[in-house]
């Protein structure tokens, strides 16, 4: 298994971990953290793909990661503002659950 394949698998593992946590937990903070972990997985994947040829690094992917990091910051800020609003309205930090939730 080459370096690139190994890190690509790790990055997709991070992404899937974040996706699973995003779907299955009703707590808002966990969802925000899960989104950040998904973002980190995608960044790791981009950087791995940039270093597929170690002699000629692909700097366009590096710039995409930089822009992605700034976007993750703004996403987290807006999500946290919405979480505070949810807490102010409902008094809880969980999303309202239906009768049959996916994972308890």
């Amino acid at each position: 298994m080459t370096h690139a394949t190994f890190f690509a698998l790790i990055s997709m593992g991070l992404f899937l971990l974040g996706l699973y946590a995003l779907i299955s937990y009703p707590q808002v903070l966990r969802k925000i953290l899960a989104l950040n972990i998904m973002g980190s997985g995608v960044f790791l994947f981009l950087v791995t793909m940039a270093a597929r040829n170690p002699q000629a690094l692909d700097h366009v992917s590096h710039a995409m990661v930089l822009i992605g990091i700034v976007m993750t910051v703004s996403l987290t800020a807006l999500a946290l503002a919405l979480a505070r609003r949810i807490h102010r309205i409902t008094g809880k930090t969980c999303l309202p659950e239906e009768d049959s939730e996916v994972m308890s």
Binding site: L9, V60, H62, I67, V70, M71, A77, L78, S100, V102
Partner: protein, 223 residues
Amino acid sequence: MLTLSFKQTLFILLFSIYGLALIIAVVTLPEPVINLPRLVDSQLATSGVNHPVTAVLFNYRGYDTLLETAILLLTLLSVWAVHYTATALPKNRFAAEFLSVARPIRALLPVILLTAGYLLWIGNTAPGGAFQAGAVLSWIGIGLRLTDNLQPSAHATVGLRVLLGAGLTLFIGVALSNSLLEYPPHSASLWIFIIESGLTLSFSLTLVMLFVAAPGMTLTKSL
């Protein structure tokens, strides 16, 4: 042995199928058709900066940075919209333990300014540039916030709004006056530096405003 409901089994099944498809797609990724590193390096001399990542960010993919700045402003407006419907301002008083940590930040203010200026200038030849410098510069605002020197207020002053939008306005102005971000090679580094300076200022202010998360902010005690 735990029993799963129908919804839970469906979720696990679909998730596993999706995960497997993703892993297969990633492992069997084909080689790129266009040799991007060669393209980036061949035009680096005329791009106005000496570092390939900065050249990609502000010259080759300048549009992405422009739209990213617009998204940052949009996020700030969305946070304002969420909090404008609130009935009262958040009465945040940070714990006293923060004061012992945050007072050294005020003492480090000149160092923060110097580091931000250095990062902005060195973006030409080494990893750095507007976003890194803006993030370091925002530490000033966050340190002031943690010592309760910066308080949320119900209304943003005109000066604050002008400074928040200055980065994007400058960027759009440079883009329009250069026939949509095609810099002439002899003045490319000047235009890029103008863009980066404006971006540093408004990016740091945007980050502090996102941290304060109120419609406006005011300095209360003197430094």
